[in-house]
């Protein structure tokens, strides 16, 4: 009888324990009748705005350039904002309408902007002692393609319709062969950035791609997992390195001040460290002669 009672009590306790597991939570009213405005930041606000072309993906660009921006802010005491867009053209337009003061652009974009709205070279980065760069034709490391012509009838990735290394160079090559990319390749895609093109080749999404040598080498040095799965089968002639440009109407004083900071960055230990991280030796004053070959190439395409 005693055992029975103990059994019943244990059973009841078990059931109660199972049933009474209920926690109390803070109560919150989710919605409000008062309108909450969405705080998307407007372009062209106070300070200096830098537009960064999607040479590499926006996330990488931000990580790469945020220390530089902070350094500039600290040195100049001017608030600096970054704008990124999906295409080179959008960046060009932003610079054209004056929403951005400085632009990290591709060589071809500079040529178009200079022609279009008289954009000026602000500073030129020197990478591995050179002021030039190339376009690399890359394929998957396991593929048997030896040269660009082998990619006929295959899939190909361009970076952006305004990219010199990622579009104009392979197009000019095809023009010399009297071909256009729509008929030469079985299919083409625009990846919007060179790192995306490298990834597309590495993943086998496309058979080949044309990419920026600076981005490619940077990823090789960074031991990027995708770049390891690719190989370069062709290197273009040298072109003037993508410069940093400014819109023609930029305040001269600010331009001078910022230019000085850029030019002297490599002499400052902090600045040097930042430059080292972003794969740049130093910034040099504008030189227009290094862009002759690129301008020639683009003129031929017209």
């Amino acid at each position: 009888m005693k055992f029975d009672k103990v059994f019943i009590i244990i059973l009841v306790i078990m059931v109660l324990l199972n049933c009474t597991k209920k926690e109390e939570y803070k109560r919150i009213k989710l919605y409000s009748s008062s309108k909450q405005s969405e705080h998307t930041e407007e372009e062209g606000s106070k300070g200096v705005t830098i537009a960064i072309a999607p040479v590499i993906s926006p996330k990488r660009s931000l990580i790469l350039y945020e220390d530089l921006v902070k350094y500039l802010e600290k040195k100049s005491n001017i608030p600096i904002k970054i704008i990124q867009k999906n295409t080179y053209e959008e960046i060009n337009n932003i610079l054209k309408i004056g929403y951005a003061d400085l632009g990290f652009v591709c060589t071809s974009s500079f040529i178009l902007c200079e022609r279009d709205f008289k954009a000026e070279i602000f500073v030129i980065p020197q990478v591995k002692g050179a002021l030039t760069y190339n376009s690399y034709i890359i394929v998957n490391v396991n593929s048997t393609f030896k040269k660009f012509e082998d990619l006929k009838g295959k899939s190909f990735a361009f970076c952006d319709p305004l990219s010199l290394s990622g579009f104009f160079y392979p197009i000019s090559k095809l023009k010399l062969m009297n071909k256009n990319y729509l008929s030469f390749f079985y299919s083409t895609i625009f990846t919007n950035s060179h790192d995306n093109s490298i990834r597309a080749v590495a993943d086998g999404i496309v058979d080949g791609a044309a990419v920026d040598s600076i981005v490619y080498n940077y990823l090789v040095d960074s031991k990027d997992t995708y770049v390891k799965k690719t190989k370069v089968i062709e290197i273009s002639p040298s072109f003037g390195i993508p410069p940093i440009i400014n819109r023609s109407g930029l305040n001269r004083k600010i331009k001078k001040e910022l230019q000085n900071i850029f030019i002297n960055m490599h002499s400052d230990p902090e600045g040097y460290e930042i430059l080292r991280k972003i794969y740049i030796d130093k910034f040099v004053l504008p030189r227009y002669d290094i862009y002759t070959s690129a301008k020639e190439l683009m003129r031929n395409l017209e």
Partner: protein, 481 residues
């Protein structure tokens, strides 16, 4: 409470064995189902909650990573589209918000605008780790996950997951599991029913046979279904019934013999009493007709002798003889009445009883009240009954005089249908009947047994009721025919 519990236990004990066994099985199945469902629910909740939480975090992380490029390129239209698609795909999501570093809404997918309370409800502590917060709201429990976008550079992504969604899933699973368990339980019950029926059948048969035997059908035998305990019980039961049958037969024989002996004995007693009464009657008549007549003749002779005698001494002697003779005549008369009251034969039972009472009162100074109900004073009935009841009344009054120390006796004779019901009640000291009826030195108290014997001879009822200090009551019921 205890009484109620006891009644409940008694009720449980009184239900048939079949229902008891089925009740136990059903009870265990119900407890099993109940505990299984509750445990399953809790285990499911724990397992699914972990997965659900992981999924929620994965969704938030994934959405955060996918948002980066849209935020960086300012493509908020596409970002909102991405949020909307994510919300549409995951029904458990209540809202998605992107907050900037100042905790202001950049973009949100909410049915209405978020409240300040909601904006402040959760935030990230570390730049690379999500933070969860659970709170209740107007639509139920919400699990809010805050995730730093690009390590917090681009603000915080907040997704609210409906916690009751998990409960809905669990409910669905429990419903399915419940149906399966119930189906299994039902099947078990059916199997149990069949098995219990098989087990219970021999017991039921045994019970039926036992009941039939109880009702007198001693020829019934239990069927032995199996060689298990119940089978052995049935065998043992059958052997027991066989033995019982034999014993019963022997007892019947003995009873018949006894009955015969009793009849013989009663006949003998009857003859004995009749002979005894006849003898008393004869002696009484002899005494009355011969001795009394002789003595009366002597008395007449003495009377004539007295008239002839002149001697006063002789006269005196004759007178003394006459007195002695009168006393003897009186004694003979009393003896005659005592032996066989002629009133009984001539005027019936009641006249004889009244005469006896009159003499009794006179002799012993005890008041006796006699009442007749439904009888006329000179009503006659079965002579055998008359003499025997008379003798019983005589014995009763004699006992009262000898032992009761009573001052008053009430006697009632009542006619009930064709029966005489007589009650003799005194106010004496009474006695312990059990002790009185015990044999003393191997002899039984003849008075009471004599009365009993006479009444049983008439096929009547004799009862005696007494207790110390409470008087004694004798009850007699005999047929008048």
């Amino acid at each position: 409470m205890k009484n109620l519990f006891q009644r409940f236990i008694n009720f449980l004990l009184s239900v048939p064995l079949f229902i008891k066994i089925m009740g136990i099985i059903s009870g265990f199945i119900i407890i099993f189902v109940f505990i299984t469902i509750i445990s399953t629910k809790n285990i499911l909740y724990e397992i699914l909650k972990v997965n659900y939480d992981k999924l929620a975090i994965a969704i938030t992380q994934n959405l955060s990573n996918r948002s980066i490029d849209f935020i960086l390129t300012g493509d908020f239209v596409k970002l909102k589209e991405l949020f909307q698609e994510t919300k549409d795909f995951h029904e458990e999501i209540e809202y998605i918000m992107l907050l900037n570093k100042n905790n202001q809404v950049v973009i949100h997918i909410l049915p209405q605008d978020p409240s300040d309370e909601l904006l402040k409800a959760n935030y990230v502590f570390y730049s690379n780790k999500e933070h969860c917060e659970i709170f209740s709201s107007e639509i139920g429990l919400i699990k809010d996950i805050a995730f730093p976008v690009l390590e917090g550079r681009l603000g915080t992504l907040r997704i609210g997951f409906k916690e009751n969604y998990l409960h809905k899933d669990i409910k669905k699973i429990i419903n399915r599991v419940g149906v399966s368990i119930l189906a299994a339980s039902l099947l078990s019950m059916i199997v149990a029913y069949v098995l219990v029926t098989i087990i219970n059948k021999p017991i039921q048969d045994l019970t039926k046979v036992a009941k039939a035997i109880k009702d007198g059908d001693i020829n019934k035998r239990a069927r032995v279904w199996s060689s298990d305990e119940v089978g052995k019980l049935s065998e043992a039961f059958n052997i027991m019934v066989d033995n019982l049958y034999e014993t019963n037969q022997e007892l019947k024989k003995m009873a018949d013999t006894l009955r015969e002996q009793e009849n013989t004995r009663l006949q003998l007693v009857n003859k004995l009493i009749n002979a005894y009464e006849e003898e008393r009657k004869r002696i009484s008549r002899e005494l009355h007709d011969k001795i009394s007549q002789s003595l009366t003749s002597i008395k007449m002779g003495l009377k004539s002798l007295q008239s002839l005698s002149k001697d006063s001494e002789d006269m005196e002697k004759i007178e003394k003889f006459k007195i002695m003779l009168n006393i003897s005549l009186e004694e003979i008369h009393e003896l005659c009445v005592d032996l066989r009251p002629s009133l009984l034969d001539d005027f019936g039972f009641f006249a004889a009883v009244r005469e006896y009472i009159k003499n009794f009162e006179k002799g012993f100074n005890i008041k006796v009240n006699c009442k007749l109900k439904g009888f006329s004073e000179y009503e006659r009935f079965n002579p055998l009954a008359e003499i025997n009841v008379y003798r019983v009344i005589q014995e009763a009054l004699s006992n009262i005089e000898k032992h009761a120390s009573a001052t008053e006796v009430n006697i009632t004779f009542e006619k009930v249908d064709s029966y005489l019901v007589a009650v003799v009640k005194d106010n004496g000291c009474g006695f312990n009947i059990d002790e009185k009826l015990k044999s003393v030195n191997g002899r039984k108290p003849l008075g009471i047994f004599g009365m009993q014997e006479r009444i049983s001879l008439l096929g009547g009822i004799f009862k005696i009721k007494s207790a110390p200090q409470n008087g004694t009551e004798i009850f007699i019921k005999v047929s008048l025919c």
